[in-house]
């Protein structure tokens, strides 16, 4: 019973982290139709910034806020100074499909190398603001800590915030419109390029938050978020890559599948389970389980 409760709770908190990464990928995909491989690098870089600020200021919360802000700045900067020129320049031929992917992969390498230069390749830790020791339930300790609870709450709050922004504000309307029909949005007076940069900034902020929530339970090193990128992507594919709600739901499904197979069968199955889910979704319903629209063309 305890094992079951633990599995459910850890599924929820890992699912919450996947959800942040998956939302970051979806935000970029909606605006740019690119899978942003640099997301792992952006997230870990801003986490390093958060780590530095946390150490200097002594407060995790200041570090968290600076990670989110620098994530937004970095995301906007990458779109403005790297991606936009490439989209302007590469307009025809088979390279159109490959160039953005290559560029984001290249950015991933650049960012991770820069981290290596500044902070070195050693493992660091970020002290969590609340205890990471397991809670006591029914007289025995389970692998779910107050910090995991904090992760759940933080992610839920940011989801609510994001939903409000997307559904209730003009900026959210512009974001949705230019994702849905960029040409028409342009004609209606929306500055699609600027909105796209905003999408990248939001994605960067989500990545920074994901890093600051994930790293205290793990270690900080340049490749720490690479696995999360893959899981975030799988969650996004389950959800249909286009839908923010789908991204969260997909992340939860993935979180449960991965944690339950790890708890009840073998911890070695984490990656294979995720990969099998990805293949199954892509083969059976490539447009995603939660995608309302008809299947994607490519």
């Amino acid at each position: 019973m305890n094992q079951f409760i633990t599995a459910v709770l850890t599924s929820l908190s890992t699912g919450a982290i996947y959800a942040l990464m998956s939302i970051a990928l979806v935000l970029v995909w909606r605006s740019t139709r690119v899978i942003n491989f640099a997301q792992a690098g952006q997230a870990i870089f801003t986490t390093y910034i958060g780590y530095e600020v946390t150490i200097r200021s002594g407060s995790y919360w200041v570090g968290l806020i600076s990670a989110i802000l620098s994530g937004a700045l970095l995301g906007a900067g990458i779109d403005r100074f790297f991606m936009r020129p490439i989209f302007k320049r590469v307009t025809s031929g088979p390279i159109v499909m490959i160039a953005p992917v290559v560029a984001t992969l290249a950015l991933l390498g650049i960012i991770q190398a820069i981290i290596g230069f500044i902070w070195g390749l050693n493992y660091q830790t970020i002290q969590a603001p609340v205890s990471t020791d397991g809670l006591k339930i029914f007289g025995s300790i389970i692998a779910f800590s107050p910090f995991n609870l904090m992760v759940l709450i933080a992610v839920t709050l940011s989801m609510i915030l994001l939903t409000i922004v997307f559904q209730k504000t003009n900026i959210g309307l512009a974001l949705r419109a230019s994702a849905y029909a960029p040409e028409v949005s342009k004609l209606s007076g929306i500055r699609v390029d600027a909105v796209r940069t905003l999408g990248w900034a939001l994605a960067g902020a989500a990545g920074g938050l994901a890093g600051m929530l994930y790293i205290p339970g793990s270690y900080l090193y340049p490749n720490a978020m690479d696995v999360l990128l893959v899981f975030g992507f799988i969650a996004a594919v389950i959800g249909g890559l286009d839908s923010l709600f789908g991204a969260v739901a997909g992340a939860m499904i993935l979180g449960f599948a991965v944690n339950f197979s790890a708890t009840y069968i073998s911890y070695k199955l984490v990656f294979p389970t995720a990969f099998v889910i990805l293949i199954l979704v892509l083969l059976i319903k490539p447009s995603g389980v939660f995608s309302g629209k008809k299947g994607r063309k490519d």
Binding site: S92, D226, V230, F275, I279, L283
Partner: protein, 339 residues
């Protein structure tokens, strides 16, 4: 912008049969005598010139040619190419240490294993396109590494040690430090791969790949069995990667999962894109430059990934088609088609 590719093609096309044979023989002779041409000035800080010629240069060239079949010729974005390299290397490692087979007997087995895994991955994955294919192949590359890391028979994180060197053939002995012998072995494989790609390019398969690369839907409508040829491209690319893996394991005598990270896939992709996707000479040039320079310049060798990244980002911005792009004629056709 000047296009060396077109200049080269012009020279080649204006030659008679005798001239072409002369160019080919001359080119092979120059490539084969490279180990004798190096002075100490070409040594890198970590290794001497001859061993750099084997790894990374020749190895990168071979793998880049293989990956070029997948990415350059047919436009399929494969980010897990290192998987086939790893499968070739582990086939060599396992059979070489557990059975009495020697490298030359294992080479076809390794290639077959790589091709087989190419089919296993390709049949489900090639139904997807673009970024989806990229992420599935990326996942496959990681899966192979994780299996090697967790399977006791493959030595887990210690990998496999004491892999035998190839036995001598034609009176040539393969000593551990006789780099030039390995270089010539790889050169023969490279020449064979070039020959294979060039032959296929002008035949049905090459035309099918070209049409898939330009517009897959149109190709399908015109009756090209696109799926079949995509799997073929994938499998041929895998076979070259597998061959490179067998030789690599036989040369380094020791393999571990750490040798087969995603980084290798990205480096080979960088070689292909840097040199010029789809053009075999561009790809070779890209692999030579990107294989050699970061090792040569001490500052760069510590920042290999940074250099590769910067080079790629700059290339994508300034010259997205690579150093030696494909023929202009083909590009003109594409432009016309897409407007």
């Amino acid at each position: 912008m000047i296009n060396l590719r077109d200049k080269g093609a012009e020279v080649w096309e204006n030659q008679g049969r005798a001239g072409r044979v002369a160019i080919a023989v001359g080119g092979i002779a120059i490539a084969a005598s490279l180990p004798f041409m190096g002075g100490t000035i070409l040594n890198t800080p970590i290794a001497d010139y001859e061993s750099v010629l084997v790894y990374p240069i020749a190895m990168f060239v071979l793998m880049a040619i293989g990956l070029n079949i997948v990415i350059g010729k047919s436009g399929l974005l494969d980010l897990g190419y290192v998987a086939f390299f790893a499968i070739g290397a582990y086939t060599m490692g396992l059979l070489g240490t557990k059975t009495g087979l020697n490298t030359w007997e294992i080479l076809p087995i390794g290639i077959a294993m790589a091709m087989f895994s190419g089919i296993i991955l390709g049949v489900p994955a090639l139904k997807l396109r673009g970024d989806y294919l990229a992420i599935v192949t990326l996942g496959f590359g990681e899966i192979v590494r994780i299996v090697a890391l967790n399977l006791g028979a493959l030595g887990r994180s210690e990998g496999i040690q004491g892999i035998p060197t190839p036995p001598g053939i034609f009176g040539i002995e393969y000593a551990f430090d006789s780099h030039r012998i390995y270089y010539w072995t790889l050169l023969i494989l490279i020449l064979f791969a070039i020959w294979m790609v060039r032959r296929l390019s002008v035949r049905r398969a090459g035309r099918a790949w070209e049409s898939i690369r330009q517009d897959e839907d149109a190709a399908e409508l015109l009756g090209v069995p696109t799926f079949k040829y995509k799997v073929w491209a994938f499998v041929l690319g895998a076979s070259v990667g597998g061959a490179a893996g067998v030789i690599y394991a036989s040369k380094t005598l020791f393999i571990a999962p750490d040798n087969f990270t995603l980084q290798i896939s990205i480096l080979i992709l960088a070689c292909v894109v840097f040199g010029g996707m789809g053009n075999i000479w561009g790809v070779i040039l890209g692999a030579v430059i990107l294989g050699y320079l970061p090792d040569r310049i001490r500052f760069l060798s510590e920042a290999r990934l940074l250099v590769f990244g910067l080079v790629l980002v700059i290339m994508m911005n300034l010259r997205p088609d690579g150093l030696l792009p494909r023929k202009k004629r083909e590009k003109a056709l594409i432009k016309k088609g897409s407007s």
